[in-house]
């Protein structure tokens, strides 16, 4: 499933990586977003907006900037690809009350993006009905060109699917250095996106949750770095 670049590798060559799912070509971006050139659509998963304020409500005053940080990063990647449609694959808010806690400035940020793009909220387990009054369409899942775009990935051997929910992350140990980063994980028939939100943690792709999904098939992993997106050989992956 790995489409390869010419052998000269410069710095910009790692900003995004080509990914193919069921014959459809995508570009996986270092930000964690997935761009679908044929549809001019940008797909992101698990924004978890207003996670900071959800924690603050329980007494942990995390910095209240996660929503604008996430939205700013989203705006940049929309600009980069000149996307015309944005599809958020669920858990766009950390909890159902998230939208009501949004700062006016952040709402404005979101509206501005929605003015320029068709917006589709796929519902997730954290935000079943949260996104209703925010503009854009709300759907449980959608199918585009035969590919199902949804929140929770289906069981083993599911194909034709792009999902989120699991917050995949991978750990590699190289030259004595340990790195643990969010990642895209998939095979040529399905793909799971990393969580895009600024406060989202990750679940190791070596966890059973992924093992059952990719059963014996080979799994491909792209690690999100600070300066690029890096395909990593599965033999380098480590459990936590």
């Amino acid at each position: 499933m790995l489409q390869l670049k010419p052998d000269r590798l410069g710095i910009d060559d790692f900003v995004d990586q080509p990914v193919v799912v069921c014959g459809k070509a995508f570009r996986a971006d270092m930000s964690g977003a997935l761009y679908w050139p044929a549809e001019r659509a940008l797909i992101v998963a698990d924004l978890h907006l207003e996670k900071g304020s959800a924690f603050a409500g329980r007494g942990q005053m995390l910095p209240p900037y996660d929503t604008r940080d996430t939205l700013d990063r989203l705006a940049r990647v929309i600009d980069r690809y000149r996307a015309e449609t944005v599809i958020a694959l669920g858990d766009s808010f950390h909890d159902a009350e998230g939208p009501s806690r949004m700062h006016a400035d952040d709402l404005q940020r979101l509206r501005l993006m929605q003015d320029h793009c068709e917006w589709i909220w796929i519902t997730g387990n954290h935000d079943p009905a949260a996104t209703g009054h925010l503009g854009g369409h709300v759907r449980d899942e959608i199918t585009v060109e035969g590919l199902r775009l949804c929140h929770e990935p289906g069981p083993a051997r599911t194909t034709h699917e792009i999902a989120g929910h699991l917050h995949p992350a991978a750990k590699v140990v190289l030259n004595g250095l340990t790195l643990r980063r969010p990642c895209f994980v998939g095979n040529s028939l399905r793909l799971i996106l990393p969580a895009f939100g600024s406060y989202t943690g990750g679940l190791n792709v070596m966890d059973e949750a992924f093992g059952s999904m990719f059963a014996s098939e080979r799994m491909a992993v792209w690690l999100l770095g600070q300066e690029g997106l890096y395909p990593v050989a599965t033999r380098l992956l480590r459990p936590d």
Binding site: F14, Q60, D66
Partner: protein
């Protein structure tokens, strides 16, 4: 022995009498029957007590310091009691170690029972049962022995003012070890509060080993009531130094190694020394060395001497066993790290062996004080340098010990994360007025310079997070009332606070369990079946991360095989593998003190003193003088030379490993900018070495860059900021500050998030906060910590100013003798730089090439 003072003893027990007759009955008789004469400093402290003057007692180990600290209180408590106004707690003894509090409590029982005194003493630590802790708050003993964290907990309850109303004395043991730390900051704040609760002025007694600047500790002991005008200080009693220690530096038959820290070459001599003594402590600097030395000694232990192991990663039960065996005389030697540093009296130690250089003059004095716990006999100590540089450092430590010189501790400004924790704690106890709290906080010496604006920012942080974006007001933890008092918004907040109290934040550790051989067989290759097994201790997460099942390593004195990891536990089995890995531990490495570094530089510069050095070392230095130059006292020597198609730059600042690592990072950035294409660097306590693609000697000759400006102090500005932004050390420092300040909840046994999850989330929080609120108080707190802690920016700054215009460069055709030990660190030390991104790219390119083949 009957001293002159005992002859004029009084016949009735009473509070201490006038000067010259200070030891009342039954104390005088008790001393006499034991054959003891009260020491001058013990009597002086009783006098100070009758005048209720807070006092710092400075005495070397073995001077009866602890008894001296308690005598005034015992005398007071044996006299007529005043009417109770509160719960009746009179004396609070606070020690930095649980074990020390327990030990002192045991030692107190002897005088109390032998004199038939009606004084109740109890300990209170994290190990004390919940029922007992509950009861202690209502019915406290006369004397409570405890730790700083327990004091903070007691003060967070609404009944604290009742509990401490009768308090008249606070005894702070090992104050030198406590004061200059975050724990010390918290304790200082708690002392200020205790002073407010007690109905009568509280006398504080600080017990300390010899320190370079007693004034810091004297100020710590008293309330700073006029912080604007004057620094108030306690009285001080100096018991004088004990007999001069008898220290020798070991000269082994085997040649001294160039580098390394194992001192393997000297094991035969160390073992011979153990055989000649009753009980020896073998001190080492790191847990890794402890494991290694322990293995080596047992390898040659033909006489089967009982040799034990004691370090901070071992399970507490195992440590207690070793301690008990020491006290009962069942052991002949113990290999130990700083867990044995503090003043616990473990038994009749008659020799201290120090493997490796002691890194600081004060630590060395403290450690050799462990031998012969009697003031009038000299301590016997043997110093074993583990490499050539350490010979110089050992000499410097020896000189310092003979002169009684100590390392100066920089005066400390109280940490802001600790203040945040304290503010919340005080609000948990009851409504507080910010004005009153500000005044109280400034009475604590570390916070006497605190300005009101910073204080208000800290209060704001506690209440709503203190962000520039005010969006959490409706979630505020502290709410002001109409009376201006701050109250916690919900009782749950007090519960959260009590679970998170304290300033000790451990880096993620993994518990190590030993599987029985049968279980190990069964679970081979199946991590799912790993369970049970005896706990050996804890090990740093990052070491375990590098292991694959089947790898062998040394732990807790045994060679074990790694079987697998399950959640936060690593499972191992016994093995007889011959070439195990030695875990290196993140903690426990102390950088070389400034004071010893100066002595080492002086020694290098003064050729006339080289005769006293071992021949091998003198030859090495002569060779350096011949081929290159020697570092001077006030300048910095920089060598450049080619080797193996690379070009090296070696500098010898002697400022300690932490400062050198920071310097290495900053120099790398600058060299990158001027096109020297740096590839990596290593640092040790004495110097650092960078290697580049470009010919540095040539570049300097061509004036492509100037060494003076390469080392200019302005690198601490933008370069440092830019690097820090992504530095993992900065993130770690931030995490610690975030936990102490209460932004992130601490881990708790049973219901904890794993350390990794905490690490992940604080890193994310750090990134977001830095981007959107760079002036936030927690970033400021973390930055202050990094400057004095892991990055040692403070020391680096002093160094860079000192050498301004004094960079001495020598271009060499080949490696210099002095640089060899530093170059040998390459490969042994993990190169601490931000190469992670490159590593990823390399991996990706490798994969892409593999696939395109």
């Amino acid at each position: 022995m009957t001293g002159a003072r005992q002859r004029r003893r009084r016949s009735t027990a009473a509070a201490s009498g006038p000067a010259g007759d200070p030891l009342p009955e039954p104390f005088a008789t008790w001393f006499r029957t034991r054959g003891w004469t009260p020491r001058a400093h013990q009597l002086a402290l009783i006098e100070a007590s009758s005048a209720r003057r807070s006092t710092l007692l400075i005495a070397p180990t073995g001077a009866g310091k602890t008894l001296a600290g308690f005598l005034p209180s015992l005398v007071r408590l044996s006299g007529p009691r005043r009417e109770k106004r509160g719960a009746g707690l009179k004396v609070l003894y606070i020690s930095p170690l649980k074990a020390l509090a327990t030990d002192v409590a045991r030692n107190l029982t002897a005088p109390i029972t032998e004199m038939g005194l009606k004084i109740r003493t109890e300990t209170r630590t994290g190990d004390t049962s919940l029922a007992r802790r509950q009861r202690q708050r209502v019915k406290p003993p006369d004397i409570l022995l405890t730790t700083p964290e327990q004091v903070a907990l007691l003060l967070s309850h609404g009944d604290a003012h009742h509990l401490f109303a009768d308090l008249d004395t606070v005894i702070l043991d090992e104050l030198h070890a406590l004061a200059a730390s975050k724990r010390g900051d918290l304790l200082a704040l708690d002392l200020a509060r205790l002073g407010n609760f007690a109905r009568e002025p509280v006398m504080t007694i600080g017990l300390s080993a010899t320190v370079a600047r007693p004034s810091e500790l004297r100020a710590y002991l008293v309330a700073q009531t006029e912080p604007e005008h004057v620094r108030l200080m306690s009285d001080v009693i100096d018991a004088g130094t004990g007999a001069k220690p008898d220290v020798t530096i070991l000269e082994a038959r085997e040649p001294l190694p160039w580098s390394g820290h194992s001192a393997r070459y000297a094991m035969a001599e160390i073992y011979a020394a153990l055989k000649r003594h009753r009980l020896a402590i073998v001190f080492v600097n790191t847990r890794m060395q402890a494991e290694l030395v322990f293995q080596e000694l047992w390898r040659i232990n033909d006489d089967g001497l009982a040799i034990g192991l004691h370090h901070g990663s071992l399970e507490a039960g195992r440590r207690r066993k070793v301690e008990a065996a020491m006290a009962s005389g069942a052991l002949r030697a113990v290999v130990a790290t700083s867990t044995l540093d503090l003043g616990i009296d473990w038994g009749d130690v008659d020799l201290v062996i120090h493997v490796g250089a002691p890194k600081g003059a004060s630590r060395f004095t403290q450690r050799i004080g462990r031998a012969n716990h009697r003031l009038d006999e000299p301590s016997r100590a043997l110093l074993v340098p583990s490499n050539r540089f350490e010979v110089l450092e050992c000499r410097a430590a020896l000189e310092a010990a003979n002169e009684g010189a100590q390392d100066a501790v920089l005066s400390r400004t109280g940490a802001l994360d600790v203040l945040a924790q304290h503010v919340l704690g005080m609000a948990c106890a009851g409504p507080v007025h910010p004005d009153a709290l500000f005044d109280e906080v400034r009475r604590a010496a570390p916070y006497s310079d605190l300005d009101r604006r910073t204080f208000d920012r800290v209060v704001d942080f506690v209440a709503t997070g203190g962000y520039a974006l005010k969006s959490y007001d409706r979630f505020a933890k502290l709410r002001p009332g109409d009376d201006g008092m701050l109250r916690i918004a919900h009782p749950r907040i007090a519960q959260q606070y009590r679970l998170n109290v304290g300033t000790i934040v451990d880096s993620p550790v993994i518990r190590v369990r030993l599987l029985g051989s049968r279980r190990a067989m069964r679970s081979a290759g199946k991590p799912g079946t790993l369970a049970g097994g005896r706990v050996l201790g804890e090990i740093d997460e990052y070491f375990i991360e590098q292991l694959r099942p089947g790898d062998t390593f040394v732990f807790a004195g045994e060679v074990v095989r790694f079987e697998g990891l399950r959640e936060t536990e690593a499972f191992v089995s016994r093995t007889s593998a011959t070439d195990p890995m030695i875990p290196s531990y993140g903690g426990g490495k102390f950088p070389l003190s400034t004071h010893l570094a100066f002595r080492v530089r002086r020694m290098l510069a003064d050729r006339s003193g080289w005769d006293a050095l071992p021949a091998l070392v003198a030859e090495w230095l002569s060779l350096q003088a011949e081929r290159s130059e020697l570092p001077g006292v006030d300048d910095v020597l920089v060598e450049t030379f080619p080797r193996d198609r690379r070009h090296y730059l070696v500098a010898y600042p002697f400022e300690g490993r932490l400062a050198h690592q920071t310097l290495g990072m900053l120099l790398t950035r600058r060299l990158e900018r001027i096109g020297a294409r740096p590839l990596g660097f290593v640092a040790n306590d004495y110097g650092l070495s960078l290697w580049c693609d470009a010919d540095l000697s040539q570049m300097i000759a061509d004036r492509a860059f100037d060494l003076g400006s390469l080392f200019s102090v302005d690198m601490l500005g933008d370069d440092l900021d830019a690097w820090l932004a992504q530095s993992s050390m900065m993130k770690r420092t931030f995490r610690i500050a975030a936990v102490i300040a209460g932004l992130i909840e601490r881990r708790h046994p049973g219901r904890e998030k794993s350390g990794r999850q905490v690490t992940m989330s604080t890193d994310l929080v750090y990134d977001v906060l830095r981007r959107h609120d760079p002036g936030h108080i927690l970033l400021e707190a973390a930055w202050r910590d990094a400057a004095t802690g892991l990055l040692d920016v403070a020391r680096l700054g002093e160094f860079l100013s000192r050498i301004e215009g004094r960079v001495r460069h020598v271009a060499l055709p080949r490696v210099s003798p002095l640089s060899v030990p530093i170059l040998l660190e390459i490969g042994r030390e993990m190169v601490a730089h931000s190469a992670r991104e490159h590593v990823l790219r390399d991996a990706a390119e490798a994969l892409i090439r593999e696939a395109t083949g």
